[in-house]
């Protein structure tokens, strides 16, 4: 009796032990529904307890948590921050896939790559794999919902469609251009600036410590573009030249990975004018390096990018994002001037990609 009880206990304990110690091999090259992404976030924080914590910083209209992974080596000091968000538009599934890949990459490389380790010491990475959680879940519902873009807040008494375009809802020239006031439109900017809880979450969290942020990268698809502020054609960021220089260098680095061309410019110049975007808001808050990434492709598959393109897309986007992040880091921490910082990062890009420069 005692023996079998002891045996059962041992078996139970080893099963529990196995469950907590075993690392599930997460497939970064498949699209994952929200529950799997949430589990992955929990698992990632568990696997790297000294470096990763989950921060819940808001809730969606349907009352789901909006969470980010805070990644960095604890120094006990207040650190500078790199912000990355994905999935502000539900149908752009490659974006959340990239955020997850990005997290995996930096966690994998910081132990062996001294530059990454240095960046993890000096900065924290705040990565939101899915910002528009309700919309993302809705896009997984069935084949009629796959191309949903907005969040899931209801319409008004006079307009019976769901959803506000979160990337038109931020308080940055809100409602002026590139928007619709028709709640049925895909670019409906909402009833007022930051009317949406998802936009509110970012505004509150980032806004409360905006001076700490060096980069604000917001990830979208499709179009193969790096967009710099501002979306309104009458306004120019005071560091426009620098944003373009760094962006063009990032696009060169991207091209070095798989040959894909990403165009660089302001929204009004290379895509369309718009207002109320998170990128514009971030730049207005004073965050110097604010970029929108539009990932693959150019329209062949559009939002429904095949899973066999997840890996190459993530690889090239990572190179581009890292270029911008490294530049911002070098400028802030290694006393480099703009010119030499760009030089340094170009060297880095060359050595990393082994690109044929000549």
């Amino acid at each position: 009796m005692v023996d079998s009880a002891a045996l059962s206990l041992v078996l139970l304990l080893s099963a529990v032990g196995a469950a907590t110690v075993e690392k599930v091999n997460y497939d970064y090259y498949k699209y994952h529904p929200m529950p799997e992404i949430s589990n992955w976030m929990t698992q990632t924080a568990q696997d790297h307890p000294d470096v990763v914590t989950i921060v819940d910083y808001g809730h969606t209209y349907e009352n789901r948590k909006i969470s980010l992974l805070k990644i960095g080596l604890s120094t006990g000091e207040k650190k500078k921050v790199i912000w990355m968000d994905c999935g502000i538009h539900a149908r752009e599934w490659i974006a959340p896939a990239f955020c997850q890949y990005f997290v995996r990459q930096i966690l994998q490389t910081y132990k062996t790559d001294p530059k990454m380790e240095e960046m993890m010491k000096n900065m924290d990475f705040y990565v939101t794999p899915v910002l528009n959680v309700d919309g993302y879940i809705f896009s997984w519902k069935d084949n009629t919902t796959r191309l949903w873009r907005k969040n899931r807040s209801p319409g008004t008494s006079s307009c019976d469609c769901y959803g506000t375009d979160l990337n038109r809802n931020f308080d940055a020239n809100w409602g002026t251009i590139g928007v619709s006031y028709d709640c049925c439109s895909e670019i409906y900017c909402g009833s007022k600036p930051v009317s949406e809880p998802e936009a509110q979450a970012v505004t509150d969290f980032v806004g409360s410590r905006k001076d700490d942020f060096l980069c604000f990268l917001t990830i979208h698809s499709y179009g193969q573009l790096l967009l710099v502020p501002y979306g309104h054609p009458n306004f120019t960021a005071d560091n426009y030249d620098e944003l373009m220089e760094v962006g063009l260098a990032a696009a060169d680095a991207i091209r070095g990975v798989h040959g894909k061309n990403y165009k660089v410019g302001t929204s009004p110049a290379i895509l369309y004018p718009n207002s109320g975007s998170s990128r514009d808001w971030a730049r207005q808050q004073g965050i110097p390096f604010a970029y929108t990434f539009e990932l693959r492709d150019n329209g062949t598959f559009g939002f429904q990018l095949p899973e066999d393109q997840i890996q190459p897309t993530c690889e090239e986007a990572f190179t581009g994002a890292l270029h911008i992040i490294t530049y911002a880091h070098e400028k802030t921490f290694n006393g480099a001037t703009a010119a030499t910082a760009a030089l340094w990062t170009m060297l880095l890009a060359a050595s990393v990609t082994g690109a044929n420069l000549m």
Partner: protein, 290 residues
């Protein structure tokens, strides 16, 4: 690699100029910036505390007439129209043409008539991967009545690659078939059954007639998905299809549903019989439905 690095460094220093000065990138990389003679030199602020947006001079004018910046949207949108046009002319289940890049462009207002674009572009055959250069002209008529753009294009090679055997085989395969073919090309994960790829390409080609028709200077169309395919009885040696397709219009970000009735055969190519925009009732949902 060592010598190359030295040369590279020399080039970079030459391009970037002296440190401490934010230089305007005059050399064309992938995006040209028009030099603005009256700009006020700014003190580069790392953490600019911009609370108030100052109305400044536009740093990057979008050139709408005269010589165009090939990376800016006017040339890009016009070039996309050329893509649609080329697909209506040369597209087949085994030939789909995509825009590769815009090399140069020029636009002129035609008084009381519209705007005309001249473009030098490269296009790519999606299946063979061959790229080639084309010269094209796109005329967007103005005026109240919605009229389609007019396109002329000449390319170096098109049509060249011989897809005749494959087209014939496809034709024979479907000649005696008549049914609803399960579609959704691509599916939510971007997947398309290899067997269905030719019908996906056919959808792109047929959609190009709609996209060409509907395009203006303010639109950018791509086919998002073939939602449904019904094959009808073969008529006059032509395969006949009823497609439900979804178009994505980039500027409005709308997904627009169209019903397309068209025929195809290797010798005749795609002939559109009917196109009908479908109302998207999906947008309107009664509240409290989950």
């Amino acid at each position: 690699m060592g010598f190359g690095i030295i040369v590279f460094l020399a080039v970079i220093i030459g391009v970037l100029g002296s440190p401490g000065v934010t230089s305007r990138p005059e050399a064309a990389a992938s995006a040209d910036v028009s030099a603005h003679p009256n700009s006020v030199p700014e003190t580069p602020e790392i953490f600019g505390q911009e609370k108030v947006l100052v109305l400044e001079e536009v740093e990057e004018d979008v050139m709408m007439t005269g010589e165009l910046n090939p990376n800016q949207y006017p040339a890009q949108r016009a070039a996309k129209v050329v893509q649609h046009y080329l697909n209506t002319c040369y597209g087949s289940p085994y030939r789909v043409i995509g825009l590769n890049r815009v090399h140069s462009g020029n636009a002129q207002d035609v008084t009381d008539s519209g705007r005309k674009f001249q473009l030098e572009i490269s296009v790519q055959d999606f299946i063979s991967n061959k790229t080639e250069k084309c010269s094209a002209e796109v005329f967007f008529p103005s005026g109240g009545q919605q009229r389609s753009p007019q396109v002329h294009a000449s390319c170096e090679e098109l049509p060249k690659i011989n897809t005749q055997a494959q087209e014939e085989a496809l034709y024979q395969k479907y000649k005696t078939n008549q049914s609803r073919l399960s579609a959704e090309l691509p599916d939510s994960f971007g997947h398309i059954d290899p067997d269905m790829e030719p019908l996906w390409h056919l959808g792109t080609v047929a959609s190009s007639f709609i996209m060409l028709n509907e395009s203006t200077e303010n639109t950018l169309y791509n086919m998002a998905q073939v939602a449904n395919i019904t094959q009808l009885a073969t008529e006059n040696e032509q395969l006949k299809f009823d497609y439900h397709i979804l178009l994505h219009e980039m500027v409005s970000q709308e997904i627009i549903h169209w019903k397309l009735l068209f025929t195809w055969s290797p010798p005749a190519g795609v002939k559109v019989l009917q196109m009908e925009q479908l109302p998207h009732s999906h947008h309107h949902e009664p509240l409290n439905t989950r």
